[in-house]
């Protein structure tokens, strides 16, 4: 049994090493502006970055723009020889976090709020969809009042869709602290929105 466990552990370790090596090779090819490598990076991470951004920004068009902006910054980093040093995913997550933060900062400076103008997709009750949109906007607004770390944990966990272990690795924290950050962030949101009329 112990032998089986150690075998499984070493297999996982080897697979992680291979994945890391493969990602580094991909990164090196991307530094040389290899079109195939760049396409692979874009397609591999676009969905996750989009989900991360959409977790924090409601308007779909803005989400698309901000997601594209993350990849543009990635190219800029490659051109400046300031490319991601560790993992592509980690670098993209950091870039996405900064892009969203800058977006909200610009919105606050301009003193306006973008409206989600996306039309209901036809399935379901339109009134219910509008209510759902309002709920989501209220939730996103509540998230912005959390600490920076709590916001990132929630975005990575529920938006990016990473498991606790990967979130811990990405944020360079222990799994335990990521679990606690997550629990306290959800509890805070639950507590803050419990009195909200829409939430009821």
């Amino acid at each position: 049994m112990a032998q089986a466990l150690s075998f499984t552990k070493s297999f996982r370790l080897k697979r992680q090493q291979l994945a890391l090596q493969e990602e580094l090779e991909l990164l090196n090819r991307a530094r040389a502006f290899d079109q195939e490598a760049l396409t692979e990076i874009h397609d591999r991470y676009y969905d996750a970055i989009y989900r991360y951004v959409s977790f924090r920004v409601g308007n779909p068009q803005t989400v698309e723009d901000l997601t594209s902006e993350v990849f543009t910054r990635f190219l800029g980093a490659l051109g400046e020889r300031n490319a991601p040093q560790n993992t592509i995913r980690g670098w993209l997550y950091g870039a996405a976090s900064r892009v969203v933060k800058e977006h909200y900062r610009q919105q606050k400076r301009a003193k306006f709020t973008t409206l989600d103008e996306s039309l209901p997709n036809g399935s379901g009750d339109p009134v219910k969809q509008v209510e759902e949109t309002q709920t989501q906007e209220m939730l996103r607004q509540a998230i912005t009042e959390l600490t920076e770390e709590q916001q990132n944990v929630l975005a990575l966990r529920f938006g990016y869709g990473l498991p606790i272990k990967e979130v811990a690795k990405t944020m360079n924290k222990s799994e335990g602290s990521i679990k606690m950050l997550q629990v306290r962030a959800v509890a805070t949101l639950s507590r803050n929105l419990s009195g909200s009329k829409v939430w009821q």
């Binding site: 502006f33 079109q35 760049l38 396409t39 874009h42 397609d43 676009y46 969905d47 989009y50 989900r51 991360y52 959409s54 977790f55 779909p60 989400v63 698309e64 997601t67 594209s68 990849f71 543009t72 190219l75 800029g76 490659l78 051109g79 709920t135 989501q136 939730l139 996103r140 929630l154 966990r157 529920f158 938006g159 869709g161 498991p163 606790i164 679990k179 606690m180 997550q182 629990v183 306290r184 959800v186 509890a187 949101l189 639950s190 929105l193 419990s194």
Partner: protein, 381 residues
């Protein structure tokens, strides 16, 4: 919030992430089910907050991403214009540095003496300046200045007692058996000293020699009078040349003075060959040639005329005419005296006028020979 409740909530979130429904999760924790229900509802709501991208949006993003990458790659490759500009800037820097180095070398070389490292640079700079100068007056002025510099260098070498090869030009101020004074410098004459031309007081001479232990020894002494003007037409345009060639005639007329000096010159062993050279004149051959076919003046021109000297040709034509008359007279009167006239200067059969004309003829031929030598030496130069 108690630590145990946080742990339960963490477990609940794990279960939710694994796909369990809220009711299924709450069933595991009946004691705190109502307390954690809003927590789980909030977590469930958060899971629905993010959305999946549209495929069209993903494609558009990919296309834009790759286009930007291609543009960035092009901008990173050095463009020909920038390469050329970089090359030009590099060349300009190198050129500026070379100019600076050469300027510094030229500046430092002005005080260099023969034998010094920078002396070659000094002479090269002088040659460059001479070759870049077009004006005849400026060339003469520069030559005079550089010659003065040569004399100053020799004076410095003599003071320092250094050994070096030297060359300068100057007026011959004094002639003695073992030393001459040229441009104020005492030049020691040795047995191996080669003297070219017939030195004469006041004439311009070029001295090649060496300084050693404070003394200046001559290797070669060359009389330059009549030579310097011939060198100029090679370097300067047409206008100064006619005046230069005309000045040659006075030097030819000066030559009779040479005979006054010959006793002092012949006292030195090296100058003695010169009078013997004049004693076997080529003109004596020419009268015999002209006397045979009773030539026309055109023949005389063809035989004796140099391509560069029209004045001398005209004079020679006249001389030939007088020779013709003279030869006719001699033919009619005395053939022997004609032979003697052509071969012997001291013949008493000829009339005094004939002797005078013969003397003049010989002098003219001598001057022609000298001029021919000068031309040859100029061609060699």
């Amino acid at each position: 919030m108690s630590e145990s409740l946080e742990n339960i909530q963490a477990e609940c979130l794990e279960r939710l992430a694994q796909g369990e429904s809220i009711e299924e999760i709450l069933a595991h924790y009946p004691d705190v089910a109502e307390e954690i229900r809003p927590f789980l509802q909030m977590a469930s709501q958060l899971s629905s907050l993010s959305s999946q991208p549209y495929l069209a949006a993903k494609r558009a993003s990919r296309q834009s991403f790759l286009e930007q990458a291609a543009a960035m790659q092009d901008s990173q490759q050095p463009r020909p214009f920038f390469v050329l500009r970089r090359l030009f800037v590099s060349a300009a820097i190198v050129a500026a540095m070379l100019v600076l180095i050469f300027s510094a070398a030229f500046a430092f070389s002005t005080t260099a003496l023969p034998g010094d490292t920078l002396y070659g640079t000094k002479r090269t700079a002088e040659q460059w300046r001479l070759s870049l100068t077009q004006n005849a007056d400026t060339i003469l002025e520069l030559r005079a200045r550089y010659n003065e510099e040569r004399i100053r260098e020799i004076e410095a070498l003599l003071r320092a007692g250094k050994t070096a090869e030297v060359e300068f030009e100057g007026k011959l101020e004094s002639i003695a058996a073992d030393h001459w004074i040229v441009a104020g410098l005492t030049v020691l004459i040795q047995d191996q000293t080669i003297i070219e031309g017939t030195p004469q007081l006041g004439e311009l001479v070029r001295v090649n020699g060496r300084t050693d232990a404070g003394q200046l020894f001559a290797d070669t002494m060359m009389v330059l009078t009549g030579r310097l003007e011939i060198e100029l037409p090679e370097q300067i345009p047409a206008t100064p040349s006619p005046t230069a060639t005309r000045t040659r005639r006075p030097t030819a007329t000066r030559l009779p003075l040479l005979t006054d000096l010959t006793p002092t010159v012949s006292a030195t062993p090296t100058s003695s060959p010169e009078p013997t050279a004049t004693a076997t004149p080529s003109p004596t051959v020419e009268p015999t040639e002209t006397s045979l076919p009773t030539p026309t003046p055109e023949d005389g021109n063809e035989n004796e005329g140099g391509p560069n000297d029209n004045d001398s040709n005209e004079n020679e034509d006249n001389d030939n005419e007088s020779n013709d008359n003279e030869s006719n007279d001699n033919e009619s009167n005395d053939n022997e005296s004609n032979d003697n006239e052509s071969n012997d200067n001291e013949s008493n059969d000829n009339e005094s006028n004939d002797n005078e004309s013969n003397d003049n003829e010989r002098e003219d031929n001598e001057s022609n020979d000298n001029e021919r030598e000068d031309n040859e030496s100029n061609d060699n130069d």
